[in-house]
């Protein structure tokens, strides 16, 4: 199986989808001849022509509005937003339009073919506006699906899953891992299911849950905890909306403890939703409070990024405290 980094896996997924269906289109700022500022769409214009892979003017609300229209028409647009921090000008088109298109028309029309890709997350010295993790802003919106992959294999399979899913899907890519994460990626068209969390590692003492780049952080934290004899069950949520309550609840019923971690600020972050749901589901089984390890309630900083981020040490400490509670 070929080795790919995450960008190559994403590029390969787009290539696969475009080859299989001529209605699949890729567009966004700089995605044309240049292949995107991260090169995720490299060579696609060269291969599929300017009509199917192209630069748009610099206007996110237009990109998503245009994509909504295309999807309603029956095309399968994959729109890129250059950084997740710049998705907010398109917020109305996503939250009021993409998400509600099917419901408001009673399924006369839908934008199920729509996928929006955007690189997210910190750890690259990006400061306020090249670091945000906005998944929770969208997770309050019935009608959307939200997916975050953790490695190249997942990225290709989940992106193909998202493109083929008959619902509008946001696909947030952990840009810190774009080149850092390398692994085996099948060449063929495979699709991972949306809405299913994955138990990556079984354990008995505590459940540790995250998504995207945070899975690597969890891995390190868990390594340390296991050395101290704590058996951790590790879950990658993968789909933030609609999320897989069953898998998480089942795990916590077994372990009695839960740590959830994400980069976004604490307040209003998606860990809150998870904690609220799980404390209800597993009330009598919980042996300690559900812990959230997250970014702080500030805009994303630069010089003090390390202090701000929920690194493996902080996750480890949360595991330790939970077990020692």
């Amino acid at each position: 199986m070929p080795q790919m980094n995450m960008l190559q896996a994403i590029n390969n997924a787009l290539d696969t989808a475009m080859a299989a269906n001529e209605r699949v289109l890729c567009f966004g700022e700089d995605v044309g001849i240049f292949g995107g500022v991260f090169r995720a769409t490299s060579n696609l214009q060269q291969k599929y022509g300017k009509a199917r892979c192209f630069n748009t003017p610099l206007v996110e609300q237009g990109i998503v509005g245009f994509a909504n229209g295309l999807a309603a028409q029956g095309s399968v647009p994959v729109a890129e937003i250059q950084f997740a921090d710049y998705i907010f000008p398109a917020f109305d088109q996503i939250v009021n339009e993409s998400a509600k298109f099917r419901y408001r028309s009673g399924s006369l029309f839908d934008v199920g073919g729509l996928t929006i890709r955007a690189p997210y997350g910190g750890g690259i010295a990006g400061g306020l506006y090249h670091s945000q993790s906005p998944e929770a802003y969208f997770a309050h919106t019935p009608g959307l699906k939200i997916v975050v992959p953790r490695n190249p294999h997942q990225a290709k399979g989940l992106l193909l899953g998202a493109i083929h899913d008959p619902n509008p899907t946001l696909f947030f890519e952990p840009k810190r891992l774009y080149r850092a994460s390398v692994g085996e990626v099948p060449d063929e068209d495979y699709r991972l299911p949306l809405g299913e969390a994955e138990v990556i590692k079984e354990g008995t003492d505590i459940t540790v849950l995250g998504w995207g780049a945070q899975m690597e952080v969890i891995e390190h934290a868990v390594e340390r905890a296991e050395k101290e004899g704590i058996s951790c069950e590790v879950i990658d949520l993968r789909t933030i909306l609609p999320w897989d309550v069953e898998t998480v609840a089942k795990s916590v019923l077994k372990t009695g403890r839960l740590v959830v971690t994400h980069e976004a600020p604490l307040t209003g972050g998606f860990a809150g939703e998870i904690a609220a749901t799980i404390q209800e589901r597993c009330f009598l089984y919980l042996e300690s409070p559900i812990a959230r390890v997250t970014g702080m309630d500030t805009p994303f900083p630069l010089v003090l990024e390390k202090e701000h981020l929920p690194n493996h040490l902080k996750v480890y400490e949360a595991i330790r405290s939970s077990v020692d509670f």
Binding site: F66, N68, Q93
Partner: protein, 394 residues
């Protein structure tokens, strides 16, 4: 790399474009005769009557439904009154397979395409036959079969969507285009700018039709923009533009027919600004007496687009007093009867609360729905309309 090949000047000259006033295209005088020099448009009798019937039907529907709203039978209504020519004249110039993405005041387009009074009523009353399943406020129509995109309340969002839709039509290569309607108020939204610019850059077969009816709720066009209407914005995107007397059915029809050619045959998007007037209140919730004068309204009432067309038809001997009487009576009766029928129909089923959020109801939502049903079962008297349907199930 600059794109400009403009000439050079050695004095700092500022211009605001005021000298480039875009003219207004007219054909039909209020008395039903053509302007001198106006070429008679190609519009055969069948089509002319289809247009006229749609205009009258729209007017009657609007009058009746506003009355129904006043009687408390309906929660909300919006009239097309005064703008029938702008809407119907343009829709009639298209192929029925072209896509329409409207704002909310374009029921005339639907009437023209053949949306039945039943279909209107089902939406207005949100009954079990409403395609939108009783989820949206009245006048949020949609029809897949008639290529009329379901209305969405957030203004201007449909404009860039129309660009995208039309881009898809261009790729499909079947010779179709999209028209999108919007008010001069909605044209202030950022989405408008995005839509026109993208359409011009990507040479998309889309027609942007602005109904400049003078007001956005209470805000007069003079407080909406400083420019001479919306038309001059086309220059900023290098887009073909035409301004039309929006109460002149022949001019609107002719302009749109030509615009469609530019769009479909030459991939040139077009902006059409129709100059018209919102004769009624903004909606049934609005009272215009707080922000405009009766005199101003009276001036525009004199320019009624339906009467103008009728006079033209009469001159052509295509229409007479009896035809008019019969159409009016039939439509009034049909509207009333249909209204009664629609109002009696049951509301959409309880499970439409959770369907169509996604292609399938996800587990979490299914669970919420089960809980809701159980709750209703415990309090059937509190939910008289849905108690019966909550029986059975988890």
């Amino acid at each position: 790399m600059t794109t400009t090949k403009s000439k050079v000047v050695y004095n700092p000259v500022f211009t605001d474009g005021a000298e480039f006033r875009i003219p207004t295209f007219k054909l039909l005088k209020q008395d039903g005769s053509l302007y001198k020099g106006a070429k008679a448009p190609e519009l055969d009798k069948d089509k002319a009557l289809r247009i006229y019937r749609a205009m009258v039907t729209t007017r009657i529907l609007d009058e009746r439904m506003l009355a129904a709203q006043r009687q408390g039978r309906l929660s909300f209504y919006m009239q097309c009154t005064g703008e029938e020519a702008a809407v119907i004249g343009s829709t009639a110039a298209l192929d029925d397979a072209d896509m329409i993405m409207a704002q909310y005041r374009e029921q005339g387009a639907l009437t023209y395409r053949g949306f039945s009074i039943d279909e209107f009523m089902n939406q207005l009353f949100g009954n079990e036959l409403d395609y939108g399943k009783g989820r949206q406020m009245p006048v949020h129509y949609g029809s897949r079969k008639l290529n009329y995109m379901t209305i969405s309340s957030p203004l201007a969002t449909q404009i860039p969507q129309a660009t995208g839709y039309a881009y898809g039509q261009k790729l499909a290569g079947e010779g179709h285009c999209t028209i999108t309607y919007f008010g001069e108020g909605a044209a202030s939204e950022g989405d408008f700018h995005a839509a026109l610019n993208m359409a011009a850059v990507h040479r998309v077969p889309v027609i942007f039709l602005c109904r400049n009816n003078g007001y956005a709720i209470s805000t007069p066009a003079t407080e909406q923009f400083a420019a001479d209407g919306v038309a001059p914005r086309a220059y900023g995107y290098k887009m073909d533009v035409i301004r039309v007397d929006g109460n002149d059915i022949l001019a609107v029809h002719e302009a749109t027919k030509e615009a469609r050619k530019l769009a479909v045959e030459h991939n040139r998007p077009v902006l059409i600004e129709t100059m018209t007037y919102r004769l009624a209140a903004h909606s049934s919730s609005d009272d215009p007496s707080g922000y405009r004068s009766k005199d101003e309204e009276a001036v525009w009432r004199e320019k009624d687009p339906i009467l103008r067309m009728r006079l033209w038809l009469e001159r052509k001997k295509w229409w007479g007093e009896d035809d008019e009487k019969q159409l009016q009576e039939n439509m009034r009766r049909e509207v009333l009867e249909t209204m009664k029928r629609a109002q009696k129909r049951p509301p959409p089923a309880l499970d439409t609360l959770v369907s169509d959020v996604y292609d399938e109801v996800p587990p979490g939502l299914a669970e919420q729905f089960d809980k809701l049903k159980a709750h209703i079962r415990r309090h059937p008297d509190e939910y008289p309309k849905t108690a019966e349907q909550a029986k059975g199930g988890a």
